[in-house]
Amino acid sequence: MFAPPRSLYVHVPFCRSKCAYCDFASAPLAEAPEGLAAALVDATLHRIDELVARFGPASGGFSTVYVGGGTPTVLPRPLFARLLEGLARRVVSPCEWTVEANPESLDREALAIMRGVGVSRISLGVQSLDDALLRDLSRPASAAVTEAALALAVEAGFSVSADLIAGLPRAGGLAGEAAWLLDRGVCHLSVYDLILEEGTPLSARAARGELALLSEDEALAERMRLESLLIARGFRRYEVSNYAPPEAESLHNLAYWRMDSYLGAGPGAVSTLVQGEVPGASLRLEEMRDPESYLRACSGEIANPATETPIAPRDAVFEALMMGYRTVFGPDHAAFRARFGCTPPELLPRSLAAWSSRLVPAASWPGARASWPGARPPVPRSADERALDGRGLDLLNRFLLDCLAELEERSPSCG
């Protein structure tokens, strides 16, 4: 039996235009065939019903919902309303409902629709406040547009998270931009190091030497300035790229990092159903990425809209470690024992010993919002639960490679 999913992700594969660094499943809405977006909204809602019928949860019991993309707010308002209202009918009062938005497509009307259905959180794709840099990245927004959109969202009472892209030189500096955002009410930050994905215009420019990137030393200095600012404002780095004050973390994303079951609908979305108890494989469903094929598949015209792959227990163990150690909470021992019959210290004595200087006691789970499955009475974590410290998070891949080597040497089950 799979543990029932409590988190739902919905993918909207459209944006206003394509950013220079982007390799997500998203295309400019203006280039999409007439009626495609509307048909996709309906198909996606229908697909959610299918997934829920098969995997749960019963009676719409999702704790978190996340509508991402792409840029969901790029949808024409009636369609945007149809999607959100459709979701609201399927989900019973989640404790967190996030919608991704880009400043250029966030207006009063969109905010009103969101308010109306119970969206609580907006993740705003700011990336930078330097207009020259934004143009360079082919982002349609500007600092002024961002400022206006942000003011509206905060005024409307949403909890606002902002994304920033690090590693590129910008006029105000990374910390300067973060301070500006916090001053205007942003209460959660995701700061991603720029990844030059193969095949994007930006990586081509970088290969031709036409892209000014920060040197390693400069990037490090920027990060340090950012972190001291954020610490002073009561934020902590609770995941490799995410900062928030305690209890303001993204619960939906925490579900991924805890490796709880989750559903994903819409082109390119992924579901993972974890095995509730030992032994047995977990299951991953990857929805087709191409919107038109996805449509046809959802309408039953062609095969299953998703590729289904069982995840062997050994891989599931590694995934749970890979995700869990991204956060200050570390892997959850109780969940580990239930799923795999053992805990990380039993599995990885050598790696944990080798990295002991980078491991600190795991932080307690955010507990205030009680209906979240990770939430529990604010009891301390058990004494041997560990998470990586700041430098450890920066070296996460090295740590995981050690873990992977150690896992490979032992028998698949816990001894």
């Binding site: 490799v240 995934e319 992977l404």
Partner: protein, 604 residues
């Protein structure tokens, strides 16, 4: 056995890539030995590596039946010859098994270094030479210029040159006729005592060693007792035959014939290319001339990446040795790398071929140490020793005098690069012996220089200085005095024996600096700072530092990224298997190669 009047033995000689293997394919095809549909490209090159690198490593022969315009059928024995300087002795043996040679010249490249050196070799053996202008189908083909070079640089009659496209088969019929008309038939007699030249051998897992030979006088038949005149070993012939695409049994091999024998020989190192086969009961008065024992000149140690794979490496080397008589090795061990083998090679290409074959055919992950030449050292005790392994370096106080092997290097280059090439060779301690103008555009430079200098950075620099136009050939000419020192490399303050090198003392600083720089480029950052130092004795002469890794983490990892990120890490973990823990530092296989190879990106 065939009447020698209807036999033609010939080889194709050419500079590398001028199209020898391709033309050989056309010959076989035209002679209908195999159905053209069944042809693999370049079927004479039957090893994977060769196909990939486009070079012929072992020579092979093939016999074709050809019906000439005179209505008679001739046996044309084609001997395919190797095309690289490391194997030039094998080229010379293959050439001496023939009466004629097709001298192939790429019409887009013209005459190059090995065109000349191979032609001289053919002339030394009194071969009839047929110049063949190849690749005439290419737009860049310059037939008039190639003709002119044939006349002025080779001194051959350009009117006799044939125009061919090996790729398309154009002109190949005319070439057959020319072979029959112009190449002399063998002149030896069946009544003479047996004299047959071994020009190659290979190991067949089912049949044992197959000796490739050319009969001069007498004949050879199954049951006959034979003697190898230089080694003295005797065997009984079990089978004789000819090279078709597969081995084709015959009742014997008569005068002038090219073929193979099987005679219960265990390994290819029991037979030496160039040795003479004679009848044990009625031996020939003398062996055929030109026998030479090929000696390794380049040495390097091979270690398994994973010490537990030592036995597999040993097995791999043993199997390679079955087919490669020139490979020599003995047990070796290193503090850093454990047990391995010290190996001797004919040259750098030979070394690379062995490395690749071990990795590919025998699936071995290996580490090779910096190649070294063999030094001759007179000790203060009066004793003379040879060393090629830094581990055997006796220390300066025990050395009275040291000598190192020198080569005569022939470089052919367009005029424009003479200055740069001279500078390069002078830097490499070369002395210019002569400079000959081949025509108004090109020059032949003859240098004498230490072989050791060719092992480190020479080929790449030669190619970059001359934009790829200069060609290079060399032979070892003997020992000359040198100043020898041992360069130690310390990683994280500990000497790594497998990185130590024997160097020319005045160049030690430069070499140490480069080695440290390259190691810095090749060793991935680790969690701590790693000093890399070069030292002579206790004196540090070069230093680099590898800064600790700052960040190694995937910035984004959400619900849709998990499979991809897990696979990425799994792949990286596989890559880590190609790392060797030396002390507490992980060294990738490339770190050991970095010591040997030029890598533009690493150079500052």
């Amino acid at each position: 056995m065939r009447d020698p009047a209807f036999i033609r033995n010939f080889c194709i000689i050419a500079h590398i890539d001028h199209g020898k293997s391709t033309l050989a394919d056309r010959f076989i095809e035209k002679a209908r030995v195999v159905d053209s549909r069944k042809m693999q490209d370049q079927m004479l090159d039957n090893m994977d590596i060769e196909r990939e690198r486009g070079i012929t490593i072992k020579s092979q022969a093939v016999a074709l039946e050809y019906e000439a315009k005179d209505g008679k059928t001739y046996t044309l024995n084609l001997v395919d010859t190797p095309g690289h300087v490391d194997f030039s002795y094998e080229v010379s043996r293959a050439i001496s098994a023939c009466e004629g040679a097709l001298l192939l010249i790429d019409a887009t490249q013209g005459v190059e270094a090995q065109t000349l050196s191979n032609m001289y070799m053919a002339l030394e053996h009194d071969l009839e030479i047929i110049p063949v202008i190849n690749k005439i189908d290419m737009p860049a083909a310059d037939i008039a210029e190639t003709r002119r070079q044939i006349e002025h640089e080779l001194g051959l009659d350009p009117e006799g040159a044939l125009l061919v496209s090996g790729k398309l088969g154009t002109g190949v019929d005319e070439l057959f006729e020319a072979i029959v008309e112009r190449i002399p038939a063998p002149r030896h007699k069946a009544e003479d005592p047996l004299q047959a030249l071994i020009f190659d051998s290979h190991y067949d897992p089912y049949r044992g060693v197959i000796v490739h030979l050319r009969v001069f006088g007498g004949s050879i038949v199954p049951g006959q007792r034979i003697r190898l005149m230089n080694s003295g070993a005797e065997y009984e012939v079990e089978e004789t035959g000819k090279f078709r695409i597969t081995l084709a049994k015959t009742e014997g091999l008569g005068p002038g014939e090219v073929g193979y024998i099987i005679a219960g020989i265990k390994t290819v190192s029991d037979v030496r290319v160039g040795d003479t086969v004679t009848d044990a009961a009625r031996p020939a008065a003398s062996a055929l001339p030109g026998f030479k024992e090929v000696k390794p000149v380049v040495f390097s140690s091979i270690y398994p990446m994973d010490a537990a794979d030592y036995d597999e490496l040993k097995e791999g080397l043993e199997k390679l040795k079955l087919n490669d008589a020139s490979l020599v090795y003995e047990k070796d061990n290193s503090v850093a790398l454990g047990f391995g083998f010290r190996c001797g090679f004919l040259g750098l290409l030979h070394l690379e071929v062995v490395q690749e074959r071990l990795e590919r055919e025998y699936d071995q992950a290996i580490i090779m140490t910096a190649p070294s030449v063999r030094y001759r050292i007179k000790l203060t005790s009066g004793e003379t020793i040879f060393i090629d392994n830094p581990a055997d370096y006796p220390g300066p106080s025990r050395i009275e005098a040291a000598e190192e092997p020198y080569i005569k290097a022939q470089i052919i280059t367009p005029l424009a690069y003479i200055g740069n090439l001279n500078t390069l060779c002078f830097d490499k301690r070369g002395t210019l012996v002569s400079q000959n103008h081949l025509d108004e555009r090109r020059v032949e430079l003859i240098f004498e220089m230490p072989l050791a200098e060719v092992l480190f950075d020479f080929y790449d620099k030669l190619k970059s200085t001359s934009r790829g136009y200069a060609s290079f050939d060399y032979e070892v000419i003997g020992y000359r005095p040198t100043k020898l020192a041992k360069l130690d490399i310390l990683i994280n303050d500990k000497p790594v024996d497998a990185l130590a090198q024997l160097v020319y003392e005045p160049n030690a600083y430069e070499r140490a600096r480069k080695t440290c720089e390259r190691l810095q480029g090749a060793i991935p950052r680790q969690q701590f700072k790693i000093p890399i130092q070069g030292a002579i004795g206790s004196k540090i002469i070069a230093r680099e530092t590898i800064n600790p890794v700052r960040k190694d983490v995937l910035a984004k990892c959400y619900g849709g990224d998990i499979t991809r990120k897990r696979k990425l890490l799994e792949k990286q973990k596989e890559g880590k298997k190609r790392m060797k823990m030396v002390g507490d530092v992980e060294l990738p296989q490339e770190a050991f190669l970095a010591v040997l190879r030029e890598n533009e990106e690493n150079e500052r």
